[in-house]
Symmetry: C2
Subunit: 389 residues, 2 copies
């Protein structure tokens, strides 16, 4: 039996509102004990028991490890030139996602796994202890399956996104591509995935195509996620709610009906401020969603086109500055909210029975994640009580 403890935590953000003050359930001068990688006890420092390994936090803040519920870390190449052109308004005949598809198809299995590992390590150093990883740059049976196998090397939260865009070779017969996704591609990918995801948008897939693919995935036992309402309003959010998807992601352009539907559902709105930052988009209406009672998560959307960042601390800062969440709400959305987006009851919160995924800050309060933007404040990272950073 391994017993690890943390004491003199100046501000312990449990992310359980019932456990303490505010949405983050904050406790002051607190302590945590983990047994065999699970939280066994949370209480005041004055009651800290004998443990095998004791960490004296000397007043630092601690919070749950970040849960980044929306990443695309399996790809090859980058699109820095396309980014530079977009920022400067220079005409650039970019291939967008298809540029990355070509590079990904040409990359070895080892290169894809190495890229995912590089980004997972980078995310870990910034406090991300659980991440979701999508395929979606292969878009052939073989390349989607090996993308998921690469994703599995860094996380169990793998998502089949064959329905990212219609690949060029199917441009004049998109329904044939939908058939492929629902059939042979799904058969090859389902064993390596927990989730299926569809990008519903003009230029990607419509609601009827999405429904077909999501229904097929459901029969294979996959959980459902949806990219929707990123660039325009549409019916994607409504479909996600109707089908009981765990998460609908982006949610930048929402109608009142969309917000009402989300509020009456278990579907989490996973917002991705990094994409809105890096594409000079408007920001998703996090404040309205939160006030309506919708469960909100924030995630990085790490991908080489529209959001090439792994920084959950920056996502917190942007959710505060640009989306109107309080620092406490933004940190909740980046921890407990992410856990709910992945329908996980073992992560995202510091409470007895949960996995001991904790991070410490070089700061006395979670507020500093927004108050000190861009500063690397994560000073320690533990997953299942093992120190990783």
């Amino acid at each position: 039996m391994s017993v690890v403890g943390w004491t003199r935590i100046g501000e312990l953000c449990t992310a359980d509102p019932a456990a303490g003050e505010g949405p983050l359930g904050i406790l002051r001068d607190a302590a945590v004990v983990a047994v065999d990688g699970r939280v066994a006890w949370v209480g005041p420092s004055s009651d800290f028991p004998d443990v095998d390994v004791a960490h004296d936090m000397a007043g630092a803040a601690m919070l749950p490890g970040f849960v980044d519920a929306h990443m695309h870390p399996v790809f090859a190449g980058d699109r820095a030139v396309e980014f530079d052109s977009r920022m400067t308004g220079t005409p650039y005949s970019a291939g967008g996602i298809r540029t990355t598809v070509a590079a990904t198809r040409a990359a070895s299995d080892e290169a894809l796994a190495a890229n995912a590992a590089r980004l997972a390590a980078e995310a870990l150093r910034q406090g991300t202890t659980t991440l979701e990883a999508k395929s979606g740059y292969g878009l052939t049976v073989h390349d989607e399956a090996r993308s998921l196998i690469a994703a599995r090397t860094v996380t169990d939260e793998t998502t089949f996104l064959g329905a990212h865009v219609v690949p060029a070779e199917f441009a004049d017969r998109p329904d044939d591509y939908v058939d492929l996704v629902c059939g042979e591609m799904l058969d090859a990918c389902a064993p390596h995935a927990r989730w299926a995801d569809v990008f519903i948008e003009r230029g990607a897939f419509d609601v009827d195509q999405a429904r077909r693919m999501l229904e097929a995935a459901e029969t294979k036992g996959l959980g459902l996620r949806v990219h929707a309402n990123q660039l325009t309003q549409g019916d994607g959010v409504q479909l996600a709610v109707e089908m009981g998807a765990a998460s609908v992601d982006h949610c930048t352009h929402l109608s009142d009906d969309d917000i009402e539907a989300l509020a009456g559902s278990r579907t989490v709105a996973t917002l991705v401020p990094g994409a809105e930052f890096s594409t000079r988009s408007t920001y998703a209406p996090a404040r309205r969603l939160w006030d309506a009672g919708v469960t909100v998560a924030i995630a990085s959307d790490c991908n080489p086109g529209s959001s090439y960042t792994t920084s959950m601390p920056l996502m917190v800062a942007l959710a505060v500055r640009e989306m109107g969440l309080s620092p406490a709400e933004a940190v909740w959305a980046a921890t407990a909210g992410g856990g709910m987006s992945l329908r996980r009851d073992d992560i995202g919160v510091i409470a007895p029975g949960r996995r001991a995924d904790l991070i410490s800050l070089d700061a006395p309060s979670h507020v500093h994640l927004a108050y000190r933007p861009g500063v690397p404040l994560v000073s320690g990272v533990w997953r299942a009580a093992d120190r990783l950073v």
Copy 2:
């Protein structure tokens, strides 16, 4: 004689437009040699000579160390609660700068120096090899002088900012405070400072008061800097240009006449996007300034009230996203521009004769500083050819 070299630099951003491509004077597959801490040679990797210590950069990008020409690192306490209230729109009777003045006056000399050292080290890890440090939270003869002595422990670029605000004890007789700044306070502070600075704004000092203080400082041999046009348009920029100040900082609200005056002057416009981020302000018109021919620098404005960040990489990302500079222009402003803001001809550019202040990125291009916001990309930092990170 110590000879240090760097070779196989995938993209060397010299920040000298005459030396290579674009505003950053980029060279590909380049090498640099430093002798006794100064750059002695820049050329192609294929001509890299024998050196005592050779760094193989394996294709990484290198650029000049960042020059952060506007920081306030000498203070005590923080204002996280005030920040939280501002972001959430909660009424909060904050004392603003005066809160920090009270904490700073109560702090020991050692505590002030330790705070400056902590922030200088944090900045260094993010690539800042030269920083400017202002007083301005003492506002008594004794506390301003000891603030500058603390600042001197981290930089030679110290700035006397007794004219930050009128302290509470002079609230009903501000001109008496101006007399103090011009007299006894200046006498006590000038030996420890290179620069003098005045905050020209409603609620701080008007142009006539500023002129008196700047003239007094000039007679003591101090160079001039000005905070102006942060919250409102006004005559601060015009005064700075008229008096030949090295830099006028903030420049958020400018008239066409202000821009024209700057373009015809040697006064650098030092923009501080971090303050605009953390106060939800509009952003300074960097694009218009650059296009008009004004020399633009960007800086962090690191201070505990309006911009508690040391991250020059984030300043680059914000200057691109929010101010319309290209990534190359933003990096130029954070390096060569900062050097010009401090009237230094030995830093900010990688060229023979300059101090060998270089940083490497965990990336192939400077574009990644904006393309990968929030990600700690600075992998190596050298000052005068000594590796510090």
